[in-house]
Symmetry: C2
């Protein structure tokens, strides 16, 4: 319908997750009207991101130009604690919470037998090498509270406990500020299961 170079861009935008055809056209027309610089910056940013973004050789989170990431280089952080997350974005969420000052390990996904995602597809070997290297006292599993997250957590626990490290898992329960009325049964069940004594 649109001239080829414009339609090509609409098609490419439409391939991105969560961008429907109308939205893709809206983005393309925005760039058409925008200054030449704006479009060039986006075009260059995509190419540069792809060329320069790498994974940290220690924690497997994102880093630039093959370097070790800023968190792994930060000596003030507790090296005896490793928080395992599925995704670099989860790492950011934990960092923003300000309640963790150890190091991280990014798995890049969770085990999912139905989709054929197994141990070898995740950065599990790298985690075991870190633990085997010594100095790690506790591994905190901060995985999604889903079937895949739980399966991955159980698998990691079976691999890590025999290595002599403490393995913990973040609490599941009702969200702070949430309304009990709207809590689903599974979450409420977990919250009751994980109840704490107020005597302590």
């Amino acid at each position: 319908m649109y001239p080829e170079p414009l339609q090509d861009l609409i098609d490419e935008f439409g391939r991105l997750p969560g961008i429907g055809p109308k939205n893709a056209a809206r983005l393309a027309f925005h760039l058409l009207r925008a200054g030449r610089d704006d479009a060039e910056h986006l075009s260059t940013a995509i190419a540069e991101m792809k060329r320069r973004t790498t994974y940290c050789p220690v924690c497997c989170s994102v880093s630039a130009d093959g370097a070790t990431c800023a968190i792994c280089l930060d000596d003030r952080r507790d090296t005896t604690l490793i928080c395992v997350v599925q995704d670099p974005r989860d790492l950011t969420v934990v960092e923003k919470s300000g309640s963790f000052s150890g190091r991280y390990h990014v798995l890049h996904g969770a085990m999912n037998p139905l989709e054929g995602i197994g141990e070898a597809d995740l950065r599990i070997r790298e985690l075991l090498i870190r633990v085997d290297g010594g100095g790690v006292g506790e591994v905190i599993l901060c995985l999604n509270p889903t079937v895949e997250g739980d399966v991955t957590g159980m698998h990691l626990s079976r691999l890590l406990v025999p290595r002599g490290v403490k393995v913990t898992k973040i609490a599941s329960g009702v969200p702070v500020g949430g309304d009990l009325e709207y809590a689903d049964e599974l979450t409420l069940g977990r919250a009751i299961e994980g109840r704490r004594s107020l005597d302590a």
Copy 2:
């Protein structure tokens, strides 16, 4: 928070309309995980769109490489009818409706005194030149049913009627398939105002 090349891309995506920070990160991470080709295609498509997309010298719609657009080149279309739209996307909507077989003229916006958008900012001069060139019998105003669209329509009508062309405006009323209960008063008012006799 993220390494520079990744954060740069997140920032660029975040500048696009309707893309919030979380969505921008999701898009950037999608491209990070996607094949090198996918990212390159998008990067190239943006640059090529910007380099090659031009405006049709006749109707001011989008075209490629400075060429006259396919609709203006199509001899089977009625050259005596011009449908005036605000945006090339509106042209696509009219085309999809299949109820118009004349030519188009794209204004690229509507008059908006509050935002300082006046006659000179739109492709009005180009429309007058086409009409003055002769052979145009009717100009159909297919503008947004908003204050800006109405103001623009009235202005065009004042310029076109003295030139001896018939100027019409698309009907405003309740959407087909809509429920009267949910129609707003303005739309219903216009629908009553524009009522048609069933005798005819």
